[in-house]
């Protein structure tokens, strides 16, 4: 093994990013793990408490709900949202009427603040004068009108649904992939008698698989770190049913319980890395890796 002849130049170019990465990511990450082993309350000394914070959070009901819900969020976005985005991308790739307008329309919510979107859904879900209940009552389905965000059974699905529908970001990624597939492949399949469904299953899906894995990884990362919409719509309630680790982390920071907050962060980082690593391991085939390399 010999050093690259331009190694000094390469190192010089990598140095600024490397320094920033270590300073603003590796060091804070290490600090989070260190603080998670202490009882730090924001002032005074840090007493080492070993794994006490971790033992405590795993006993807490709200943490258990938070961990469960974060997994549900990751799977819902990773599989549900990306699947929906893929379907829409495949339809738009066939360039139906107004496809350019539809592409923009689907992407538009991604440039709107999450706070504004959450407030919009609050007006849809609220029990009194909410759009959903008003519509249900208007068509005689009064018995279905619920306190959607206050009901133990409906709160989590309601919050996830409002997020699931905003597929624009992944739709754009997948659409770019689908549109880059050579048209000749579809023309050949059509000559061989393949219908539209078969063309999508046997040409489109294998060809965009590597891009879909990237999209799913991103979606699961968004799911694992989910915070804003739930915080604004339910605050983690009712009775912890929509709790997420992000909200719990926020609460512990607000209570100046930095040791416990750091332990929650550490779990969030570890669980996130595990889920994403496992997903990529299960879904990424050698050919897909090769595709990306090529």
């Amino acid at each position: 093994m010999t050093l690259h002849k331009h190694w000094k130049g390469i190192a010089l170019f990598l140095l600024p990013v490397g320094v920033m990465y270590v300073t603003f990511f590796i060091y804070p990450l290490g600090y989070v793990f260190v603080v998670s082993l202490t009882d730090f309350r924001g002032f005074g000394s840090m007493e080492f408490v070993g794994l006490a914070n971790f033992r405590r959070i795993f006993e807490m009901t709200n943490f258990q709900f938070g961990l469960r819900n974060n997994l549900i969020w990751a799977l819902s976005l990773g599989f549900g949202q990306v699947a929906l985005a893929a379907v829409v991308a495949m339809i738009l790739a066939r360039k139906p009427p107004f496809w350019r307008f539809l592409r923009t329309a689907y992407f538009l919510p991604n440039v709107i603040s999450q706070v504004a979107i959450a407030m919009l859904w609050y007006t849809i879900y609220r029990e009194n004068f909410g759009l959903l209940n008003t519509a249900l009552r208007a068509i005689g389905l009064d018995h279905l009108a619920l306190n959607w965000l206050g009901n133990l059974s409906t709160a989590l699905p309601a919050v996830i649904l409002q997020q699931l529908l905003y597929i624009g970001y992944f739709m754009i990624i997948l659409l770019a992939g689908v549109m880059s597939i050579p048209r000749s492949l579809y023309e050949s399949a059509e000559i061989d008698g393949a219908n539209v469904f078969q063309q999508e299953v046997f040409i489109t899906i294998p060809m965009v698989k590597s891009i879909a894995v990237v999209a799913m990884t991103l979606a699961m990362a968004f799911g694992i770190r989910h915070f804003e919409a739930t915080f604004l719509l339910t605050g983690g309630g009712p009775a912890n049913r929509t709790m997420t680790l992000g909200i719990l982390l926020h609460r512990n920071l607000h209570a100046a319980n930095y040791g416990r907050a750091s332990a929650i962060s550490a779990v969030l980082i570890i669980v996130g890395a595990l889920i994403i690593g496992l997903t990529r391991h299960l879904l990424t085939t050698r050919s897909a890796i090769e595709d990306v390399k090529q």
Binding site: R56, M60, T61, N62, R126, E127, N128, N147, L149, G150, N151, L152, A155, T234, G235, G236, G237, P238, A239, N240, R251, N252, H254, A255, A256, N257
Partner: protein, 422 residues
Amino acid sequence: MKKLSIFTIALVVLALLVPAVFAGGGAEEPDEIVLEFPTFWVGQDSKADMVEYLVNEFNEMHAGEIRVEIQPMPDTDGYRSTINTRMSAGDPPDVFVFQPDPTTFGFYGAEGVLMDFSDELSGEWGNRFSGGTIEQMTIDGETKSIPYEVGVTPIWYNQRLFDQAGVDSFPETFDEAVAAFEALKDAGITPTSQMTGGANAWTSMLWYSHIIGSIGGPDAWDRPLSHPQYEQAAEMLLGLYSDGNTTSDAVGGDADVSGGHYLAERTAIFINGPWYIGRIAGDAPEVHEATRLAAAPAVDGGHHGHQVAFPQSNLAAAHTDDPERRAAVVEFMKWMTEPENVAMITEDAGPLFSINYDIDPGVDPLLQEFVRVQNEAPFTITHFEGAFPVAVVQEFGTAIEMMVAGGASPAEFVEILQDAMD
């Protein structure tokens, strides 16, 4: 050229001397005690004008002896951190606004930092204050901050809706309340506004605090969560969520839901502080006109008439061994807590104070009601949020939701809170 240079030098010397000569006009006179008073009650703060007026009046009355100098610090967060830093360094300002919270109360234990007013307050001066408020600010027998601005949160009820339901007066006991609630429901009116959402389930947290006060009296919060009063109060709170006694969106609802129902006359009973008067007067003038205030119904054999009032701003001073300086500080504190003086601030800007006083009958009738219920209260207790750590308060709404959903008994409600204490 030479003439010009001399002239220039003379001008420069004059320019340097003139401000120095005039600046001498503000210098303290011999033996005059100057007290620095950094405060955020300046600029756009509603109390700014009246506080400045009172300080000027005090300075005029004590000209040549005591002078209080306001140091404007309009940023409240910056003020808080500055004061905390100065207290940490053992050098607080001569007189300042003490924002009561667990951090600032932590400085009570620091030797030689804050002035202890317990001797002076044990005399006639202490009688000015609302029942229980001095005790709330006293730790280990030392009163190192004086209760001042206070948030009073009595029960609000809509007299017109009560009349519609044939209920003559606000119930004084929970047994009477049950009968009144039934009458209201028969008239198609939901009795109470409640909420479990927000950071602290505000409306329900205040109801719980009123009930705890009725069961436990002025020292109710001194009892640990293992005391049966907490479970008993939880059972009564559950009753307020049952049998249609509140709206179905109370679970998960926030202050907008709770207040919105009251403003829209969908509910007849609500709880909040005087800061909500502007909202109700602007958004629902007819409800504002129909609103009366009362003490919460008493539990069987419990206390009645008390109010839930929590300190918002206290007054404090730096410890000093100089008796004359100490006397000057006490004199200023007595002036700022004169019933007539705080009445002027209330009439001008609306805040309430933990002092017994009357206000001009010409001001907003609801504000007068606030002063009346506060003066009539035999004692006040702080709210649940002021009595327990943030971590416990954060779980309060969740605990109600669990109880209302049938997932927790009142005893388990308390266990959830106890669990959060660890």
